[in-house]
Amino acid sequence: MMKTSDGLIYLKIPSNKFFLGLVRKVITELAERMDYSQEDIAKIELAVDEACTNVIQYAYTSEEKISFKGGKDEAIEIRVNINPKRIIINISDKGKEFDFGSYKLPDITAHFKEMQIHGLGLYIIKNFMDEVSYERSPDGVNTLKLVKYIKK
C-alpha cells in the first residue's frame, strides 16, 4: 500500500443535518486511503457524525429557525490533519458552550436494559476514538478534538 501523505483537509458546512452524509463521505474516503481496519473506519465515521449532530442539535439549537444555508455564524468547521500514524479531526462551532468536564460516561448496559438511549452519541465518540478533548476559546469557538491512531 502507498504511504499516507501528511496533509490538512478543511471542510466547512452549514449547521444542518442535510450535510451529515457529505461529512461522512469525506471522512470515510480519507480513512480508507490510510491503513485503518474496516471496523476503525466505521468507528471514525460514526464518531464524526455524532459530533457534528451534537453541534447542530445542541450548540446551535434552532435548526428549523435558521435558513437552509445556516445563519451567519451557524457553521461547522471540520479540520482534518493526517499523517501515516494517525488522524486528528477538529470540529469547531460558535454555538453554546458544552460542559464537557462534567459529562460522565453512562453505564450503557444499564441504559439498554431500561431501553433508554440518552447520551449514546457522546458515549460513541468517547469509546470509538483514542483521544477526545474539548476546548472553548476566549472568542467563543468550541472545538472538539478527536484522535485515532493506526494500529500496527
Partner: protein
C-alpha cells in the same frame, strides 16, 4: 437519490408482521421519516416488527435510539421488534455497543418470521 428509503411490507402470519426495509443511511437527518413510519405501524395496532437492515449501510445513535424505543413499545404490547440481516459493518457496531443482547438479530427472513410464531405458540 434520497439519503434513506423506507418501504413497509405487511405479512399476514398468525398475526400481522410488518417488515420495514431500510435502504441507505439512517442518521439524524433521515431519522424523522423512519420514526413517523414505524409509529404509524404501532398506531394501527401492529406490534410485530422486523427491521430489514440488508441494504442499510449506515446507522447513527439517532437510529439506534429509535430501535430501543420501538422495541420497548413493541414488547409493552406483547409484540417484539427484531433486526434482520445487518451488514457486517452495522452488525459489528451493534455488537460493540452491546445492543444485540437486547434486540434479537436474524440472518434469514423465514427464521425471523418464525420467531414470532414460536413466541405466540
Amino acid at each position: 437519490m434520497p439519503a434513506c428509503e423506507i418501504t413497509i411490507e405487511k405479512i399476514d402470519f398468525e398475526e400481522p408482521i410488518h417488515i420495514v426495509r431500510i435502504t441507505g443511511a439512517l442518521d439524524a437527518y433521515s431519522f424523522p421519516d423512519f420514526e413517523i413510519k414505524v409509529r404509524d405501524i404501532f398506531e394501527k395496532s401492529g406490534r410485530n416488527i422486523i427491521l430489514d437492515f440488508g441494504k442499510l449501510d449506515y446507522i447513527s445513535s439517532a437510529g439506534l435510539g429509535a430501535l430501543m424505543g420501538f422495541a420497548k413499545i413493541a414488547r409493552q404490547n406483547n409484540g417484539d421488534l427484531i433486526i434482520l440481516k445487518p451488514t457486517p459493518k452495522i452488525g459489528s457496531i451493534i455488537d460493540v455497543l452491546g445492543l444485540s443482547k437486547f434486540i434479537k438479530v436474524f440472518w434469514d427472513e423465514k427464521t425471523a418470521l418464525n420467531s414470532f410464531v414460536s413466541k405466540a405458540g
